[in-house]
Amino acid sequence: MNSAAVFWEAVYDDGTLYREADGGKYGNIDRNRLRSFRLVTPGENIVELFCSNGATGWNLVYRRRTVMKLGVGRQVWFIVGFVPQGPIYAVQPESLQIVQSDHFESSGPLAHVSPIVDEGEHWDNQHMIYRSDAVLLPNSITLPSGYRLKVGQG
């Protein structure tokens, strides 16, 4: 499977599609209306995530991650998931490898991303709230002006 043939599609609550292949932009996804988000290649769905377990369109994160080894070649991973609820998937089309976790990892295909302005919720990678009985927090948190701390329900 060629990474160049992998695209995302946003499925809205009325069944309509907003597609990358049609020129859609990730930042223009109507997150209020998102029902599911999927990666597709001609003829098949690779992975589809439905807004559930408290996740809404505002929790969606998607990235196309490229690893360039100079003089060797490129490898592309597609990252898709919900933050902070999880799950998060990293898909490598050429090898058909899929890595899954409940949260971003410190390294590997699911290494942290940097939030961008397009994303609806501004979440702080350094204080990611994990789905756990114990909520892990540092002794104090200083949030930038306009940010709020949101705790996910497990």
Binding site: R64, M68, L70, G71
Partner: protein, 184 residues
Amino acid sequence: MAATIIVNRLTGAGPTATPITSGNTRASVSDNPYTTETTNPIPIPAAGTNYSFWVVTRLECTVAPAGTVNNLKWYTDGGGFGTGVTTTVDTATTYVQASGSSSAAPYGNELNTTNYSTISAGGGGGQPYANAFAFTSGSPLSVTGSTSTVQQFGDRVVYQLEIDSTASAGTLTAETFTWRYDET
């Protein structure tokens, strides 16, 4: 559409950007984007340290993303060039042409904030990070920068080879440096 990103080596006063994504780039005691040339090799000192001219690299977007390219990382395979060869590295917010002498020790001017004022001095005391090979996929060097358009972008990644008397003569086995980025 997915962005097209390449890696350039910057040399000269301009600077001149030479793509190095698919090939080899060689450090020497000159400011030239050598690939396999054997001119201007780095002499092994009898004592002390000799320096290569520092190598400046930077990303360029040649086909714009639909959204944004960001989260730039740089890292190595954790190996190294071998005994007597130390590789320092740092990020830099501007370009400073490599300088020094091709004929007299210590050859390249040492990479530090005195000679390259806009490096981040990640090693402290005006010094770059002491060991580039400490940066691996699990602990990469973060590089500031992002783009949504066609352009060179992000901080430069600058590295330099330091040679001491225990090094062995000959062509060093090439090491692979990796850039990673995200896009939407």
